[in-house]
Symmetry: D2
Subunit: 315 residues, 4 copies
């Protein structure tokens, strides 16, 4: 059975027809408005119409950045799109006019499920996925099942507290993991280093035209790839926080695999060695237990689409 996976972004959706092996057979896109939620419903209906002529579609899976109701039909709250208790499934079905199954899933969960079923974790039973983008998201699979939590809001990994009294987070709390393990943290630290240690930050400042507030994530990556010691240290620090935090999650959940995705994880060897070193240094009961492997995500931006499609089909 084919399913359509839809990945909802801020100003566009990406959709694809996905088969039972996780292969994307066709892809398309539509522009949408984050303030006009009906525009999103229409776009989903349109892509369904576009695909149904060529493929027999059994279900639509929608990956959305937000809290999703337990029955996976409604977005309860989304930070960047105007969904508030919005029954996406019902709305889309009404536009389509037939009884196709529409399942909504948190986007990080969908991406994690994609990796679990068809990507880096396809041979695993217990996985922690961490998505390092602007913030820090993730997904957890325990014994083959996606963890959604009692009310569907599990796996807010980025808001686990790792430093009491630490950096303030946009959520109003202090010391959230994503303040230490995300692209935003990388840029903030780079800018501060440029103020405190302008000599050491000369390469970064040159890339940013001399203005520490203009330093960007891609500049840090570029400097690090060119061997700049400060930029490399910034990635190593970031990696350390990823790995050390992952060790705490591993103490709780004992996963066999930790998958790192998101744009920051593309830094690859700038990041992974320090992630592994931080994880090993902080893992409880080392030597008395097997250790999770830490690997890169395999599906890139398609993970959400593929995972959403599969979740719509299999459960």
């Amino acid at each position: 059975m084919y399913a359509v996976g839809v990945d909802i972004g801020g100003t566009k959706i990406a959709a694809g027809v996905v088969d039972e092996d996780g292969t994307i057979l066709a892809k398309t896109r539509r522009s949408t408005s984050p303030d006009d939620v009906a525009s999103i419903d229409r776009a989903i209906a349109e892509v369904y119409e576009e695909f149904r002529g060529d493929y027999e579609i059994g279900a639509i899976g929608v990956a959305a950045a937000g809290f999703v109701s337990n029955d996976r039909t409604t977005v309860l709250f989304a930070p960047n799109i105007a969904w508030r208790d919005y029954p996406v499934g019902e709305k889309v079905r009404a536009l389509i006019g037939e009884d196709v199954r529409v399942v909504v899933e948190n986007d990080a969960n969908a991406a994690g499920w994609g990796e679990f079923r068809f990507g880096s974790a396809k041979d695993a039973t217990d996985m922690l996925m961490l998505t390092l983008g602007t913030g820090l998201g993730g997904a957890v699979v325990v014994d083959g099942r996606l963890v959604r939590g009692r009310w569907g809001v599990a796996t807010e990994v980025g808001h686990m507290r790792v430093v009491p009294g630490g950096h303030y987070c946009g959520c109003g709390h202090q010391g959230c993991w994503e303040q230490y393990a995300s692209g935003s943290a990388l840029v903030r630290d780079a800018r501060a280093a440029a103020v405190a240690m302008p000599d050491r930050a000369a390469a970064l400042l040159a890339l940013a035209g001399g203005d520490h507030d203009a330093i960007t994530g891609p500049q840090v990556t570029s400097a690090a790839q060119a061997g700049d010691p400060l930029a490399r240290d910034l990635f190593a620090d970031l990696g350390r926080w990823v790995g050390e935090g992952a060790a705490s999650v591993a103490a709780l959940l004992d996963p066999e695999l930790i998958v790192l995705g998101g744009g920051v994880a593309d830094a690859g060897e700038l990041l992974f060695p320090s992630v592994r070193a931080g994880f090993e240094r902080e893992l409880s009961a080392r030597g008395h237990r097997p250790e999770a492997r830490i690997v890169a995500a395999a599906l890139g931006n398609d993970a959400g689409m593929v995972g959403a499609a599969d979740l719509a089909r299999v459960d």
Copy 2:
């Protein structure tokens, strides 16, 4: 079907016949030696013999403080008993001489399962149990299933790191949760307060004969119950760490219920208000989500026996 639940302590075992409703129909005890693991096998076989005349026993569940193999037959490692890759199930069956099912389970998992099935969480589907004793243990149930992890060593909650560079733990790491949320932490903090603030610690010092190193947990409890401000603050601090750490776990797992057990939790109202306040203050996305309730365990010391028996039967 009846099952025998066996709770293995350092120098004795407690065993009981448990029915399918979690009711203990009979109880007994045997002395054992932690250095002579065969003495534990014999004691288990003896209690089985004692019970089998009066009850039809279908399975034996053994709750053991240690890492247990995935197939739940073998203790891989125990900190306080000389088990090293020790096949408890096979040894006991050999002594009994018949093919009764023997299932070994981590003791915190067994106690958590007892509370989940028959105690404070019997109406819940997703639970975090925290056991506040000398150290900090726990158990997690997700969507009705006990989380054991890929290699059976999940739910080492006490070794999640809550303070980078914090107090050293016996495990060699720093900042483990149990260094802030356990009876040992309470006593350590009480003693330090008595050194730094002898005036404020006058009541505690009086109970300890004037020697700060002689302050004990029961003395702190007693002083707190009598209204001593320092002792009450010590419990409030402890509760705060329990609640704040639980908020991080809730960000990850979204449980509906947090159950507090163990001897320290008996402090009741000295502890629970600050646990709840700490949890609420640190819970991510408050107001956009339902919140877990925080309740006391109901089964006391029987939880492990009841849970082990049930786990032996049902899975």
Copy 3:
């Protein structure tokens, strides 16, 4: 002998004739431009001309926010005024056309000296003054002598590190004391509390028109004075950081008096009890040593003017 004390602000100067008892006999003001440092020289010369007809002036003391050279003639660097290695003394003398003594002093040092000689610390020999404004400044007197340091840049108390890896400071470092003990810290914490705990912050949010980013320091003070629990807690936290940090300075310098000045210190009883509690709790070797008293500054905004005049006169 009379001396003129001049307090340099961002857009104006305040000047006064000060006698040897620290009494201000006359006061005046001039507007200036922070980008036109000559405008400041001219304003100082003008106020001198204004006063000299009525008073016999022996010296001019200039209090300036910035690093001052060892010989107290030159501002090496100022964050908010365009002084860079600027010989204020020489420039003013050239305008005046006579050989009056012109002494430049760091403004926090001048204010501290004013309090030491004529204000709250006039009977003390060893003082720590902390000025709680937007940031955290201070002054130290050891055995009757103002501590300027080897290169004149001592008493940057606000940039002592109190939390490794703590809040970022405008200086590029992390965990500077002024990120925890200043008016800016108070407002930042109030805004974050309003995001994380909107219910608890209802009173503050009402004052700020519902926008957490619009919360101001005076609103927090006003809410605290009206008894709002959150606002009172915010002041108590601030006071705790002031007192705990002061305990570290006291371990180093053993002052007899700690004087709190600056706008935030006007909060008085909202602040002082928690400052004292924090100081007492963290003071090393309590019980084996006398303890510094913690008092409010007495001279208000005149402290800098009076202190600068006195420093110009007495050396």
Copy 4:
């Protein structure tokens, strides 16, 4: 004028005749008992008798580990010797039977003064000395004068708090600098590393006979000198804490020279580079100010004797 300098240890005293250039002309020792304070008085009187035949002695300076009264005649409290408000000067004079000047000084102050007058800081006016032994002591000279504080208990540098909620100290507080920057801290961290990372600690464990609790400071030094990566990291961490803490003191006092003494400082190049790196990284307003140099103490164990003699003479 010659003076006798006496360095009081736990079970012996060392004394010497010191000239005005800080040269030791003669040395001797006596055994004493820490519980019998009169034995110390007698030993001081004896060494004076021994020296007076050959040298014209004008004063006796006594360096004592403890709090000393403002008039420098009395030890108020000592942690390791049974002095409690004990008038050492008067007692010694009574034994000697003549009116020689006897001046008592805190031992860290005496050693710091020795370095300031005749050792590494002899060309400086403003010095911070840090003595890295079992604990962390120090001395401060501001503008050529030793800082004793209002009540003589200044420069308890080891008990400045550098980590809120950090490691417990014997003083009952948490996060004292000496818990991070001392020989005890080095050993504690080495032992913990051996528990958490036995593979990485193989060299250290081999030196300690396989028992992590048997690891000593000299073993860590020896392993570090032989290039062991863990031992080198432990020294680097220690150095970092020394340097970062020194940066906070420098923000307060602006010294021109930081002198490192004590047994741990003998580690030399294992320690100093990371001290300097930590200092530079955390120093406030770098680039806008000259920076203190960081150098090794020059006088070794004689510093206290020489300094005490000089302090007895000059003031």
